[in-house]
């Protein structure tokens, strides 16, 4: 397994004002698996993603990602982990505004020491003609493609996506999901966090959270659907 979470809990605060974001979570993700983490607002899905991506630490349990026990890792090891094991795609893109599309993706190459070429990856996401554009000159969908390209170019085995279609219209969102799914089949584990049940239909597996607990973990209801079949 490329992601292993055992008895993971996350609490904020202490005593009477303590908030339990996650409790008794177990999660296993295989390489090349496309997993959707589904849940309403406040269910803990973002917290789960933060913990897997080493942006946050678990209060209890063990977290093993890409063979590394990050629950006991030092700060330095966590930085190394994020460089070599995971890549993020954010809801609000978080591109560097002073860099062009190509330069934003080049950042991913430099951060991870990847052998891939930014132009090739941008071409693969359909932005071959937008290399010299700044983020404010791109549409929302194009910006998200750049963000995905930046994540893909690192060549890391795990892709963590937080509501990647949250700021996009339906058609653009479909295109983005299609891209993500294609790269999952390339040997990369893809975890997508969303509240949109329709998106979960395209996953290999759906992990549903409610009030910090995993309430279900299995194939999508009604079977896996093709991206083209989705509608919201």
């Amino acid at each position: 397994m490329i992601v292993e979470l055992k008895d993971v809990a996350k609490r904020y605060g202490t005593g009477p004002v303590s908030v339990t974001a996650l409790a008794d979570v177990e999660l296993f993700v295989a390489p090349s698996e496309f997993v959707v983490v589904l849940g309403p607002s406040g269910s803990g899905k973002t917290t789960l993603l933060n913990i897997i991506g080493a942006l946050d630490t678990a209060s209890e349990g063990t977290v093993r990602v890409n063979g590394i026990d990050i629950s006991a890792a030092s700060r330095r090891e966590l930085f190394e982990f994020r460089r070599t094991s995971v890549s993020f795609v954010f809801q609000s893109f978080n591109l560097f505004p002073a860099l062009t599309a190509q330069e934003n993706v080049q950042f991913g190459v430099d951060a991870a020491g990847s052998p891939l070429h930014p132009n090739d990856v941008l071409r693969s996401v359909g932005l071959a003609d937008k290399l010299d554009r700044f983020p404010h000159e791109l549409s929302g969908g194009e910006q998200q493609r750049v963000a995905i390209a930046r994540a893909l170019v690192t060549n890391n085995p795990i892709l963590l996506c937080d509501e990647p279609t949250g700021e996009l219209d339906f058609r653009t969102g479909i295109q983005i999901l299609d891209l993500l799914q294609k790269h999952a089949t390339d040997g990369r584990a893809v975890l997508v966090v969303t509240h949109n049940r329709e998106i979960s239909r395209m996953a290999d597996r759906v992990v549903e959270l409610s009030n910090g607990h995993v309430v279900s973990d299995g194939p999508p209801r009604g079977g896996k659907a093709d991206v083209a079949e989705l509608h919201w």
Partner: protein
Amino acid sequence: MKALSLILRWSWRDLRAHWAKVLSIALVIAIGTGAYAGLTSNANWRRLSYDASYSSLDMYDVRVALATGGYLQESELASAAAQIAHSEWIGAVEERLVVPTQVDASTPTESIVVRGEITGADFSDGGPSVNGYHAFTGRLLTDADAGQPVVMLDRNFARFYALPDGGTIEISGGRPLGYVGQATTPEYFTVSPEGEIFLSEANFAGVFTTLETAQQLASREGAINGAVITLVPGADRDLVVAELEATLGSLGVGTEVSTRDDNLSYKALTEDVDNDQRIFNVLAFLLFSGAVVAAYIMLHRLAQQQRREIGVAMALGVPPRRIAVRPLLVSAQIAVLGVVFGVGIGMLVGNAMQGIMENFVPLPIWQTPFQTRLFAGVAVAGFLIPFLATAIPVVNAVRVKPVDAIRPLYHKAVPIGRRGRKVHTHGSTFSRMPVHNLRRSPWRSGFTTLAVGLVVMVLIAFFGLMDSIFGAIDDAEVEATGTLPDRAVVSLDGFYPADAPQIAAIGDAATVAKAEPTLRVGGRISTPVEEIDVLVELLNLRTAMWRPTLTEGAPDHEPGVILAEKAAADLGVEVGDTVTLRHPQRAGPLSFTFSDSQLPVLGLHPYPVRNFVYMDAADASVMGLTGVVNTVQVDPVDTVAEGDLQRELFSLPGVASVLPVLSVTQALEEQMGVFTSVIQLIAVLVLVLAVLIAFLTSSISLDARVREHATMFAYGVRIRTALRMAVTESVIIGVVATVIGIAGGLAMLSWMTSSLLASTLPDVGLNVVLDLATIVTVVVLGVVAVAVAPLFNVRRMRRLDLPGTLRLVE
């Protein structure tokens, strides 16, 4: 009410989040306004203090001095004054006896032998009633001290040599006198003995005693040789002077009647006020401008960071006026803090300047009241600037469409390089990003660079002015000492033939290795452009043991003058041009007139004071003074102890004073002392300003890039890599700002030395000098401090809430 409550709570949270920046910007404004108020108050303080001090000690309105060697009996002068036509205008008359002397105030660790003057006055009935005394240490003399060998020492002299409050001195003839205190009197508020230039507290000692004691010391029982007179309010002073001159002419002894305005000390203090203030005003304006513009730029950047939130608020339909309240509340906080701190800094500067002034001019009364009106003027500017700095970006934001306000203010790279082609940088993103960030936000980069550059410019102006002043003093020392650092100038009490026994006695003194007689006369040099009072020294320009260095020209067989470079520039002449020298001309065995001679400029010397002119001794024939001398240049024996030379030569007949050549430089240093002390005081504030600007530049930049940093950290980029990028960006800003600042500072310094100081200190020539220490300081602050400032944000970066900053949404 609810809306107001929300705004106030929100504003409080803004303050908590940005308190360091708010405080820093407020301090920047406070430094500018407070220092401005302090510096520009100087003239008011000095006038208030001078008026109060002169009034408290009843400085004379009219002074009567008998010719050298002339004496009258006590009450003769007072009686004569009572006989003038308008005697009802006479307020009080104090007769006195003034006796030149040598003063030996040597301590176990320092030999102190200087020329001095004993002033004897009537201390009975709480007097003297004109030109009273104020004791800084010890006690004042009283009637009980009449005829006793006790005196008071001039405070300036005693303070310069750090003498104890009481002790013993010796005067001419080795006679000991006990001094019971250190005091001042109006004629000694600053040391400017009549008939001398460049004497200072280092080489002239005022000794104050009772009239009876002075008479005993001078062996002149019952004698006086002067009087000081106060007039009643409304008296016509000039008429009183005329009537006194007419009445005193019948006494059969030469008298000179002068007024307070003729007193060199009084003139030096009162005339300097406006001249000095002009310089302080320029320095104040420079500092105020730099601080205020820098604060404006920092606030502008801070306000611009709220542009996105403003756009969101507009999208929600909030009216622009209400949108503006929150950022303007931040401005209000800064404005209020700026004024409060400004008052504090203004008072601190005032207290510090009082200390400086007390140190240089010990007065009985120093008043440095806070100048509310002056401060209010700049406080208004300091109060309005934060609002202006915030209002402009807020107004710009609410005027555009909400979507444009939300959009970041990035523009395409300004095309640079030849023919408008973009310059493509090479290397990894981490090395290119700092350059890209700067290029693609040219206004932000430009304003930040300007803010830092202004502070660098102020630093160069302040420190450069000090360097230039000290450079002139060093030049003076080098030129004056030449190869004979212990050289001294013996002034005689009159003109003597060069082969007179008095001259030979000086050369034969045990402490003298070599002696050369010279002639010094006062005069005036003029051209159609300018007139300069000068001291002309006639010596052998080819073989004298000390000769002026010639930077241009050479002595000629024809009579001519060697001018200071400053004098030549001011007179508008070069070597070979002709000037008019007004000089004493012997008319008879003991009489002189003044006549004008047209003389060529033979050469130029580098001494920074323009009043010194040299001629060859052979040219004394122009003045009818061939073979006549009144000074002797001496080089002491190598093994002679300091002070022994003065002691031996003072005891010789005809010797009026023995001055080390460095005494002139000391006087120059003292003349500049007030400036350099004030500049040093303000320079501390400038340094604080520079550090604050460096901090603000870095802190505000960090705020602007917090999301980018969070994204980098999410991708595993190390903190040190992000810091390196921030440092690189800061270095670029720092280098460009420092270069701009140095260029601007040098231009300002050049103007100050050539134009401003030329009108306020016309006799001193200053070259633009920048010490290595100044350049290092400027580079350290302008580049290193700005570059290093991001490193102080390591903790902030380490504690960055990545999820929150990245806005991972539930």
